[in-house]
Symmetry: C2
Subunit: 333 residues, 2 copies
């Protein structure tokens, strides 16, 4: 069965194809009777408008591009799902490209999307140089970076308030009676990590708590392995912390493994908190108390930023408030 076009419909309905187009677009410049007749014919002939041709003339595709460091990563797949929902609600489709944490590939994917003439691109960055790399492309397609807010980069960002998240965690621990905590994470490295670490320092100072650091020097292993290694190092020469706060849930998972292997009980011997609220943390036997990044909210914010790109004035990077999710990995002391 050959693809039926607007011309075929026009022939059958004995009108010009402009009229068919108008019937379909819901234009007011058409008689009610003809509209219904044409729509019926379209239905009978299984006509599906060609989005490619439509995009060609309208100069918009109703496609949103997504370049993500990973599709499979639980945080990101939830974010992508949230973006898809938001996009669909607004009549957009999603073109999803994986950069696999590879900056070169990320550039290629980005450029590919430009060629696809997508109406906007949401980037979940592959690394620290992502923003610098991609903002060198001169284009009028709106771009939003999600999950790390770099000030003065001349780009638009959606990110949670990492410092606030850190404070949320620290003050929760304080309310439980903890006074000295271990922070597992990187103090330099990505901006996200820096902000979280600084947030911890500030919150501890403000709340009169003591913090000791174990820096993840990021030797190429997975976060979970790193968390395991660092926690074990700490257990070998403990400094009296009653809680561990990890920069990410993956680190926390590793710390949990370390605790199990070293016979340290959670939360009886030490409390444990993560950051991100990836789906893992909710599992039975895991139950890690953590700080949530509300993905749906982030997706909506990114979408707004994309589609409001015409109104340049009131457009600025958006900061999302994190949320505390209490599970079973912390106890009061």
């Amino acid at each position: 069965m050959d693809k039926v076009t607007i011309k075929d419909i026009a022939k059958v309905a004995d009108v010009s194809y402009a009229t068919v187009s108008r019937a379909l677009s819901g234009s007011s410049e058409i008689g009610e009777a003809t509209r219904e007749r044409i729509l019926r014919i379209c239905d009978e002939m299984n006509y599906i408008p060609d989005s490619v041709a439509r995009s060609m003339v309208k100069k918009r595709t109703n496609i949103l591009g997504v370049v993500t460091a990973s599709i499979n990563n639980p945080f990101m797949s939830e974010l992508i799902e949230a973006i898809e929902i938001t996009a669909r609600e607004n009549g957009y489709n999603l073109m999803v490209c994986n950069s696999a944490y590879d900056l070169e590939l990320e550039k290629r994917q980005f450029s590919l999307l430009l060629g696809r003439r997508v109406d906007g691109i949401i980037v979940i960055p592959a690394g620290k140089e992502t923003v610098a790399n991609l903002s060198s492309y001169s284009t009028d397609i709106p771009v939003v970076y999600v999950s790390e807010n770099i000030p003065d980069a001349g780009q638009f960002f959606v990110a949670i308030d990492n410092a606030a998240g850190a404070k949320l965690a620290v003050s929760y621990l304080q309310s439980l009676g903890h006074r000295k905590i271990l922070y597992l994470g990187r103090r330099e490295g990505s901006l996200t990590h820096r902000l979280r670490a600084e947030g911890v320092v500030a919150a501890c100072r403000e709340l009169g708590m003591e913090v000791v650091f174990k820096d993840n020097d990021n030797d190429g292993k997975s976060s979970m392995e790193a968390g395991c290694r660092l926690a074990k190092e700490y257990f070998r020469s403990p400094e009296g912390c009653t809680a561990i706060f990890c920069a990410t849930d993956a680190l926390a998972l590793g710390a949990m493994q370390a605790a199990d292997e070293d016979g340290v009980r959670i939360p009886e011997d030490i409390s444990l908190m993560g950051f991100d609220n990836i789906s893992f943390t909710a599992l039975p036997r895991i139950g890690i108390t953590t700080i949530e990044q509300p993905q749906l909210e982030m997706a909506r914010a990114a979408f707004e930023l994309i589609t409001r790109s015409s109104e340049e004035e009131n457009r600025q990077s958006i900061s999302i408030e994190p949320r505390l999710v209490v599970r079973t990995s912390c106890r009061s002391v």
Copy 2:
């Protein structure tokens, strides 16, 4: 900066735009000198070919559509990532649509993709009626269904050999000395579940093992909750099984939770196996021995089926061999 088209290049290079097109497409019908000159100009002017216009005339988009029941589900997100890799390696982009397990939405998404003139559609079905629903669309766009092989449906499928997977599990348990096992799952319902259940029956008969069933009557709760409930029911009136084999990892996770809450130790008191090898199962504290569905292999198979649609003869549904993944949830008796 206005979008630069092939005509702008032509004007600068002082050639016709046909020549520019030829230079870009690597056609042999062009002088080496002009080609290089044109390519240099394209580069200088940051020219990116318009895929929309190209698709319009070539009648192919180099886009693959994916309609998936969930983006976030760990099995599916891994599968989607695998599909993206395969697609990219072959010059395709992915348009990902979520059906959210909703058959109506699934139809809309499918129809949308037809309008997008994608070169093929991979469906991860939302439910039992998916195939019947979607095969009613008359289209010459190739379609492949992943993860459930319905015979004689006149469609193409990629699925693992569920019976073989079941047998793999049962004979592993037998090799560990188990002689009587509990099977948690649905015996009717989706084909996948039926095949797994039948595979268990057949394997037990063949290997001289006894099996007792707990049917998941699927009361709308999540699989994990169902697994928890069913396992608790069993623990209340045990029948001497030394191992539980669950139809899915989610069920197994629920069973594990039930065991924890009822003070049943895994694997000391009872062994536990799942099916699917979703990423959860590898986590510390979880470590569920399971049957893997190799997603990358499935993605490649689906892609082959899509792109080989012209050669109708040697094209048929593909069955993938499952693989045993041993972790710590089983012991020998």
